[in-house]
Symmetry: C2
Subunit: 359 residues, 2 copies
């Protein structure tokens, strides 16, 4: 309820709304602490109503009822938005904020409300809260980070020429799961050879060959919180060029991690890494932003890129992931998830800063 109260403070006291409708799945998890709600209506003058379909009703009652929410069953065949709109009328809400709505849901709401309630997108308010992780979230993200490192340890120990990409992924995911991971934070990437030049290369049936660059980008999830970590290994002995590129990316990551602190401009942190890569002559091959927020979702605000306008704040959790991608040759990326603390960055993932895998 602390989170709902914080949203009410911002939306109702500071912004003068008198209702807030939450429909995004991750936002629902954040506010209700329970996966599977259909939406949440928060009213200035009324209860917090969690709308739940029959399939999740008993679980919602067990996990959310009595914790500041009224659980309302949405029956098979009922129109959710019409039901919400009817309640908005009962609560006499005049200025309803919402996080996100499709054009069609928006129209359904407006149809029942007939101009008596004004609807305004206010997702930014939710992100202001979610961007700053509280102690409970941080302990889960710490654990997600530790589990991710277990996965990287498996990659480091397993990777060798002759294995298929998905076989490496199998060992990584198994190691994370056995230690208690709730699943992967996103689709595991094991991109080898020429495919390593594609930042989102996925994981295929390709057989890893001697001398290949292999980008291993993985994350464990723990109680719905995620982590994100990349290492690049060479199957076999690294070449001089691979070593040279690796040192550039490593230095870029170190510089950027060092620049992370409260009030640092996100674009300045990006610039720290970009400058290292540009000065080495590879600027055009660093084809993405330096990083992104992580939490209940794998890509969250704040973004750390050349166009970012935000400043970092204590409690933000972000990735720092510079890379160099050369089509035909291959790619390298080094990524950690870091927590912004008062005096700088604390890595939630770390270790395995080496191009050479164990075998």
């Amino acid at each position: 309820m602390k989170r709902v109260e914080a949203l009410k403070q911002r939306a109702f006291e500071m912004k003068k709304f008198d209702g807030f409708l939450i429909t995004n799945e991750a936002n629902l998890l954040y506010f209700a602490g329970f996966p599977g709600a259909a939406c949440l209506l928060i009213a200035r003058n009324g209860e917090n109503i969690l709308y739940v379909y029959n399939v999740n009703y008993e679980q919602a009652k067990a996990e959310a009822e009595g914790k500041g929410f009224r659980v309302e069953l949405v029956k098979s065949g009922e129109n959710l938005m019409a039901k919400v709109a009817a309640q908005v009328k009962v609560f006499e809400i005049e200025k309803l904020a919402f996080d996100t709505l499709t054009v069609e849901s928006h129209r359904s709401l407006l149809k029942v409300l007939r101009g008596k309630t004004r609807l305004t997108p206010q997702n930014t308010l939710v992100w202001e809260l979610r961007k700053v992780k509280d102690a409970e979230e941080l302990s889960l993200m710490q654990k997600a980070g530790e589990l991710t490192c277990e996965g990287m340890k498996a990659a480091y120990g397993t990777l060798r020429p002759g294995l298929k990409e998905y076989e490496v992924a199998a060992e990584i995911e198994y190691a994370m799961r056995r230690k208690g991971s709730w699943g992967t934070a996103f689709e595991t990437i094991v991109a080898s050879g020429a495919r390593s030049a594609f930042p989102h290369g996925g994981c295929t049936e390709r057989e890893i060959r001697n001398g290949d660059l292999v980008v291993v980008d993985i994350g464990a999830a723990y109680q719905h919180y995620r982590s994100d970590m990349t290492r690049t290994f060479v199957a076999g002995k690294p070449s001089e060029k691979q070593k040279k590129l690796y040192e550039i990316v490593k230095k870029a990551q170190e510089k950027a991690v060092h620049a992370v602190k409260p009030l640092a401009e996100a674009k300045a942190v990006d610039a720290e890494a970009r400058k290292v890569i540009e000065e080495a002559g590879y600027g055009e091959y660093f084809v993405h932003s330096l990083g992104h927020g992580v939490g209940l979702e794998i890509h969250e605000p704040p973004t750390l890129g050349p166009q970012s306008r935000e400043k970092l704040a204590a409690g933000n959790v972000v990735t720092i992931e510079p890379g160099i991608y050369m089509v035909g040759f291959g790619g390298l990326r080094i990524e950690d998830t870091v927590l912004v603390k008062e005096h700088g960055a604390e890595r939630l993932t770390g270790g395995f800063y080496t191009l050479e895998a164990a075998k």
Copy 2:
């Protein structure tokens, strides 16, 4: 391109639109055959333009260019919807259909278009195509089904009192991955004891106890196509009541699978299973629809529920998953993914129809 042509036929010839904007991730994968596009603009009088951010640009060029798409780079800091709107003007599109848009993207588009183009949601047209799987999709779904059965084999062989739910999940996912799965189709469910009464119970650190019902709901993904299968096992020896409930659910599933055929009403198939459970006196404990479509996403149309208005068609792939959930006692569900063929259902998952696990 066959899929884009089919959409053009429906939207442009039959419905008189002259443009279609695709923004949904799974729809993009369906039409472009490539993951990571930001959106796709299809014009009656113009090229098909795939908008891609820098991070995925090289991969898009390698995988989609020359296959009927022009790949257009969206630069860092550029507003995607403003860029699309500018192109809509160039193509002189007057009636633009779209699959789905948030209220905010919709507004961005309208702002640039200034009333010269009419925007209409037409997601149903896309689903008409996606609901009927083509031969290429079916061979991937067949493989996803086989991999899912490998996972269930691991569950059957592993499950015993004393293991934690996530340890069973680890063995299931490892077995699927090692055989070539691209990952899980959704978060693996291993819900034991009282938790088995929650249909979406997830997978926790709970230790499985002797006599527990354990609902194992799993799916493998193969090249972005998904499968879905549930079995319910007892850790140790089943009780008489557990056996009785199991036979009811099994009979309900068989009846429903038998009713699957082209032109069958979705609600009639649901009714076949529901009738068995109701007649046994447990109707109120079957708290969800009988099934849903599966494909690139885990929950797709058509839904098979009491309120469904659709008819099945050859090429649909749906789940058949009756269950009984009794709070305090536990729950049981049996689910297979089936393909609707000319003469009835073909199971894409199957086997392990037993309450007793191997150990």
